[in-house]
Amino acid sequence: MSDESPQGDADAAETVEEIAIADPVAAAVVEGFPGSVAVESHGQSVVYVDRGVLAEVTKRLRDAERFTQCTDVTAVDHAADVERVEIPGVVRERFEVVVNLLSHPRNARIRLICQVPEDDPTVPSVTPLFPGANFPEREAYDMFGITFDGHPDLARILMPDDWDGHPLRKDDPIARIPVTFKGDPAPR
């Protein structure tokens, strides 16, 4: 898992093909936000957007394209990837923030993925648009240390408040520290 080359090989790149025409919503996002790349991943519509416009894209999808629910916000750490799918037009960074949107009127899903560099792990929050993103964004902050700009209450949610580190980062090893509980006497 310590292979440092994040570039995917040619076979993997073939599995992802541009479907800017197949999904009109994805095509509209690509048209409205230059720099976005629409792909199809295993039959699902995915748009790689610039992290600066994540909130605007989400707002556009909510207001203009009737995406009614934000089903999931999560993050991925690609630091230890052996092989990574290469997508033309997308500069891969260490972290990815993934926003899953669901449109009930269209009965369709779309996934927005933005690349987040290691030295500035910040993305705009979608909680002002979808209040339901509150907990998952706090979880992503807790687990990956990614800051969501504009989140009303960005605090740790699963780990204790005074926890050091972000557990789901690949460089946060398992069993890093012995298990202690608050108020425990120091180990002898």
Partner: protein, 430 residues
């Protein structure tokens, strides 16, 4: 005294941060103990109390910080993380073969559903189709699991609201479903039975009659609950108009499942985005329009009957054939082949030591669990272990709707509301 309360400034400081220390600070410390007479606190005095994490009505280790004005709850804030065991991190250390044992422990009332969503996600990345019999077996097992989960809800919901006999009735029927699941999978819970590429084993002898018996008994039980509760004026007083949530609120807060359906929004992934063979069986999406505790109880009650309907169709129409794909890279060879074939032995050994490799890619698969949309976001880098295994637990999202439902209700109603969300803390904290 009031200046002590107002000391941490504005609105957000009133409920404070989630440490115990914070909660203590918010409580008036320099309180004059007034036994008789003396100054009574101001009328605008509010009190902040913790419900949980060790409280019998919080279904595990949920903690709710509530700001009270007398008996009325002004606001409530769920505080979670007490059951966090890093299951998503564990998932990154396990091979795809071992992964099912991990996800099945997340929502421990919907074990088979979690296994299913994980298996579907891995199969999606592998581009594998499972045989028809596996599809129908999976559907039957997941519906049995839904029955068990909703029966447990009936038991605990009744207990929380005060219909204590419901607890015994609900468990009585659930026990039968669990016995049937034990007969089929070998375990009552955490089955690890739905695996990538199919199932762990075929159905045992006599499963048809056993399943139909359970269906009859559950149906009779549901009829009893209906008589006991639906028209019961005490039950109605206690639940109707309590914890009301609108469709707009539910959608905005990411609530799915019975909470969303109780607001008059008939959204069920089994109908809307059919997976397995749900487009091939006959069942109804139960929904109501009031969005209160009573409606959520009613939806779960009648969903049991819909699940019974699906299970009966599965028994009647169970196709023959294989219960897993015969791909030696994904599923183990039959036991008999291991003795006579070197390749079978090697495949068996490789599968259970290092697992199989999954092509690089990412996918999000969602199914309808008893609590709503359970999704699995899976990222692979072409090796034998996932880069990221994220499970979208419906309880995690549904719990946010407590903040919208509780304000304005009584403390005792807050217990009913939390119960009606049906949170499973194993899935909330993962």
């Amino acid at each position: 005294m009031s200046d002590v309360i107002n000391e941490p400034t504005a609105e957000e400081a009133r409920l404070g941060r989630q440490t115990d220390e914070g909660a203590q600070e918010l409580r008036p410390r320099q309180h004059e103990v007034v036994m008789t007479g003396g100054v009574w606190p101001d009328d605008d005095e509010t009190m902040i109390i913790n419900m949980g994490p060790q409280h019998p009505s919080t279904h595990g280790v949920l903690r709710i910080m509530m700001e009270l004005d007398g008996e009325t709850v002004l606001q409530a804030k769920p505080v979670i993380g007490y059951l966090h065991t890093g299951m998503e991190k564990t998932g990154e250390q396990l091979t795809y073969v071992q992964g099912a044992t991990n996800v099945t422990r997340m929502d421990y009332l919907n074990c088979l559903g979690n296994e299913l969503v994980y298996a579907l996600a891995v199969e999606n990345l592998l581009d594998t189709e499972v045989p028809e019999r596996a599809v129908w077996m999976r559907m039957m097992l997941v519906e049995l699991q839904r029955m068990a989960s909703h029966l447990l809800f009936q038991a605990t919901n009744g207990m929380d609201i005060g219909a204590l006999s419901m607890m015994i009735y609900g468990w009585r029927e659930r026990e039968q479903v669990l016995r049937l699941l034990e007969m089929i999978t070998g375990l009552r819970m955490n089955h690890n039975f739905i695996r990538v590429g199919g199932l762990a084993a075929d159905l045992p002898d006599g499963w048809q009659q056993a399943t139909l018996d359970v269906c009859d008994n559950v149906e009779a039980g549901v009829a009893e609950y209906e008589t006991l509760l639906c028209e019961n004026p005490i039950w109605q007083e206690r639940t109707q108009g309590v914890g009301v949530i609108t469709t707009e609120q539910a959608l905005a807060l990411g609530a799915t499942g019975p909470i969303l359906r109780s607001t008059g929004f008939p959204w069920d992934l089994r109908k809307a985005q059919p997976y397995l063979a749900y487009d091939d069986v006959d069942f109804e999406v139960i929904y109501t329009g009031n969005g209160d505790v009573y409606d959520r109880f009613l939806i779960r009650l009648f969903e049991i009957l819909e699940s019974v309907k699906i299970v009966r169709q599965c028994v009647a129409r169970m196709p023959g054939g294989d219960y897993r794909v015969q791909d030696r890279k994904i599923t183990p060879p039959p036991r008999g082949r291991i003795d006579e074939s070197m390749e079978a032995l090697i495949h068996h050994f490789k599968l259970f030591t290092e697992g199989f490799k999954v092509p690089a890619g990412e996918t999000y698969v969602a199914i309808e669990s008893p609590r709503g949309e359970v999704g699995c976001y899976l990222v692979s880098d072409g090796t034998g272990k996932p880069v990221r295994l994220h499970v979208r637990g419906p309880s995690f999202y549904n719990l946010q709707s407590v903040e919208a439902m509780v304000p304005g209700s009584m403390v005792a109603d807050a217990v009913a509301i939390i119960s009606s969300v049906d949170p499973v803390m194993g899935e909330v904290d993962r």
